[in-house]
């Protein structure tokens, strides 16, 4: 793993730098608070933290428009926050409160907000890929300009639905972005134990789908790669397959002794922490100062506390409403 060299004369403005950094730090602190609340039994069920992969969510969301459809997985807090979902509504959702973004009915793995075209976390690995293709198909049929973007881990690439979706997307020529976050571990299975071909992006060629890979630990690289991808899709109407190589610093979920990987490997990757590397680049290029970072940290801390208070004050849905949302009224 070569050391990340500091780039000079970055092609971005101070304002964009601050925005991207703020979003990454917001995600990081939000996930840390979620972990804390989980140990205090405020959040139950499964909780999959995004810590370490912030650059992918922030970089990607920056290059998608508000009309684009987003479909995510159960490790979705980063995507939801970067997409602009209110932290309070996410926290309340994890508390199971009806003020949550899914009325408390979905929890951490099923965040939904149609006003942000955020079509949920899907807890079935690869389960949302065919839907993304279908949504893109609908856009094509209605001659709309938006694209549909689905996020998934390298584990999903082993699912039949990945194969069927890639083929359908290419065959029908529909505007879908397949964005893979390759964090090297499908739960406890390292990449080499699940894929014969580990250069995942090359699988695009099998379906005639344009493909590329990028450094998922560098927010600017992800931003540029996704910009290139969405430009291709909007101009050709064809699908695109982008692999972001990244790494998760925390366990797969809260109750995971990480027997499958060495601590040293984790420490090595931590050296490429997306927040640290990006803030150093911004500081090195004198786009921001350390005070800016402190301001961001304070703002984020207030935002997080506001979210926790909102969730704490939330209410539980009356049991009488149990059978709501099964059929439309």
């Amino acid at each position: 793993m070569e050391k990340e060299e500091i780039k000079v004369n970055l092609p971005i403005t101070r304002e964009l730098g601050l925005k991207l950094l703020y979003q990454m730090i917001l995600i990081r602190r939000f996930e840390e608070k979620s972990a804390e609340l989980y140990t205090k039994e405020k959040i139950r069920g499964f909780l999959h933290l995004y810590i370490g992969e912030e650059a992918v969510a922030v970089g990607a969301m920056h290059s998608l428009t508000e009309d684009d459809n987003i479909l995510s997985t159960y490790r979705e807090h980063g995507h939801a926050l970067a997409r602009g979902l209110d932290p309070g509504s996410i926290m309340a959702e994890m508390y199971g409160k009806q003020e949550g973004c899914s009325m408390g009915r979905g929890g951490s793995m099923h965040l939904f907000d149609t006003s942000k075209k955020f079509y949920g976390g899907n807890a079935i690995v690869g389960g949302h890929l065919p839907m993304a293709v279908g949504m893109a198909l609908a856009s094509k049929k209605q001659h709309l300009k938006n694209i549909s973007c689905c996020f998934f881990g390298e584990g999903a690439i082993a699912e039949g639905e990945f194969h069927e979706s890639m083929n359908l997307a290419a065959l029908w020529g529909v505007p879908v972005l397949f964005l893979c976050e390759n964090n090297l571990y499908g739960m406890g299975t390292a990449l080499r134990f699940s894929h014969s071909v580990q250069d995942l992006e090359k699988k695009g060629a099998a379906y005639g789908v344009e493909y590329a890979k990028t450094n998922g630990m560098d927010v600017l690289e992800v931003k540029n790669a996704v910009e290139k991808a969405t430009a291709y899709i909007r101009s050709t109407g064809k699908p695109y397959f982008l692999v972001c190589n990244t790494y998760r610093f925390r366990a797969h979920s809260m109750f995971d002794a990480q027997l499958y990987r060495e601590k040293t490997e984790v420490d090595e990757w931590k050296k490429r922490d997306p927040i640290l590397t990006f803030s150093n680049q911004l500081l090195k290029n004198e786009l921001i100062s350390t005070d800016d970072i402190d301001t961001i940290e304070d703002k984020v801390s207030t935002e997080i506390q506001k979210a926790v208070d909102f969730a704490e004050a939330g209410t539980f849905e009356p049991v009488e409403d149990l059978k709501k949302f099964v059929y439309s009224p």
Partner: protein
């Protein structure tokens, strides 16, 4: 002070074993520092601390297994920044199955459980007279069992081929009523002989002016005489249901024996108010229907006292078993010619032996004999019946 507690890492994690502290008291820790290693069913997990402060005391020893939430260490906070997080308990209500109230037509038909219905059919029980104690006021097994035990319900709504069932049911019904009677009623018996000369003489004269089919039988005289005697000694005409309950209506149960065995006891309602002719018409109607097992249950369930009339060509006397909840039963034997001594002279006279079986809880010997003497007097003045 800040408490560091054993964290919950999964909904199914109940406890953890402290393997190793990574800090000692006096150390300063920052949010996110690894403070200990804990062993769980999933393996060894590094535990982070979420607060900043100095370790004041390590309470739990290494190697100790403690439940989630146990205070493991105390920290002295740098500054009290983070407000304490309230514990919100989720009330666990039972989830009721919400039933959609459609307008399901209420079935106004008699509500009876299939099982109860089966037994009622076997025992020949008429359902219209039974109040249900089951759900929605339905009749359940218990109600049928009670009906069988309490009354001689020989209702036989007989249609076509179901006669045998009714007769079998009848036998069962009589058996259970009689055994209950013996078990619960302290019987005592009285007996007397009644000279029937005047009565039979009056009867023959009366029948001579009647069409054949309107002829009176002796039994109507006996019934009417009994009714008149009851007016003089009313306490024989009562029920015993935890206490004596006098009955003002005089409904005389008249035992009709069936040719193949078994007895059916229709009630002659308000026998005291009926003329001899009316009584005869009633018998002409009741007896054939009884023999064909076609009596309605209402006709069978209201007797306040019973007459057992063995009838001609049979034994001289009959000692009855009281039908609960009545308190008396009168037995008329055969009318036989016997020696009768009167004013020092001996002559042959038609005599009937009459017995009274009574419930000693309700009546005692003195009242019983007064009743029989009244009966005797009434039969000496047939024209007044």
């Amino acid at each position: 002070m800040i408490e560091f507690t054993m964290p919950s890492l999964g909904a199914d994690m109940e406890d953890g074993t402290l393997v190793e502290w990574r800090v000692k008291s006096g150390d300063f820790v920052k949010r996110g520092d690894i403070i200990a290693d804990v062993d769980t069913q999933k393996g060894l997990i590094e535990i982070e601390v979420f607060d900043e402060g100095t370790i004041a005391e390590l309470i739990v020893k290494e190697g100790e297994k403690v439940p989630v939430g146990t205070v493991m260490a105390i920290l002295i906070p740098v500054v009290e920044k983070v407000p304490a997080i309230k514990k919100s308990r989720i009330k666990k209500e039972p989830i009721k199955e919400m039933v959609k109230e459609g307008s399901i037509k209420v079935d106004d038909r008699l509500k009876i459980s299939p099982l109860a219905k089966k037994i009622a059919k076997e025992k020949g029980i008429d359902l219209t007279a039974i109040k249900g104690s089951g759900p929605e006021g339905s009749i359940v097994k218990k109600d049928i069992d009670l009906a069988v035990a309490m009354k001689v319900e020989s209702h036989v709504e007989v249609t076509g081929g179901k006669k045998e069932i009714a007769e079998k049911g009848l036998r069962a019904a009589i058996a259970s009523a009689m055994s209950k009677s013996n078990r619960e009623i302290p019987h005592f018996y009285l007996e007397t002989r009644i000279d029937m000369t005047k009565a039979l003489e009056w009867l023959r004269k009366a029948n001579r002016q009647r069409e054949l089919k309107d002829r009176l039988l002796t039994i109507v005289l006996l019934i009417k005489a009994t009714a008149k005697a009851i007016k003089e000694v009313p306490s024989v005409n009562a029920f015993w249901e935890n206490g004596l309950q006098l009955k003002n209506a005089i409904n005389i149960g008249f035992a009709i024996s069936l040719r193949k065995g078994g007895v059916v006891i229709p009630a002659i309602p308000e026998a005291d108010k009926k003329s001899l002719n009316q009584l005869m018409d009633l018998l002409n109607d009741l007896i054939p229907r009884a023999r064909a097992l076609q009596l309605r249950s209402s006709e069978l369930s209201e007797s306040t006292i019973t007459i057992s009339n063995i009838g001609e060509g049979s034994t001289d006397k009959v000692f009855g078993v009281i039908y609960p909840p009545q308190v008396a039963i009168l037995g008329f034997g055969n009318i036989v010619e016997e020696a009768w001594a009167k004013d020092g002279e001996l002559s042959a006279r038609p005599v009937v032996h009459v017995t009274l079986a009574a419930d000693h809880r309700a009546i005692d010997g003195y009242l019983g004999s007064r009743f029989l003497m009244a009966l005797k007097r009434n039969l000496q003045k047939p024209e007044a019946l």
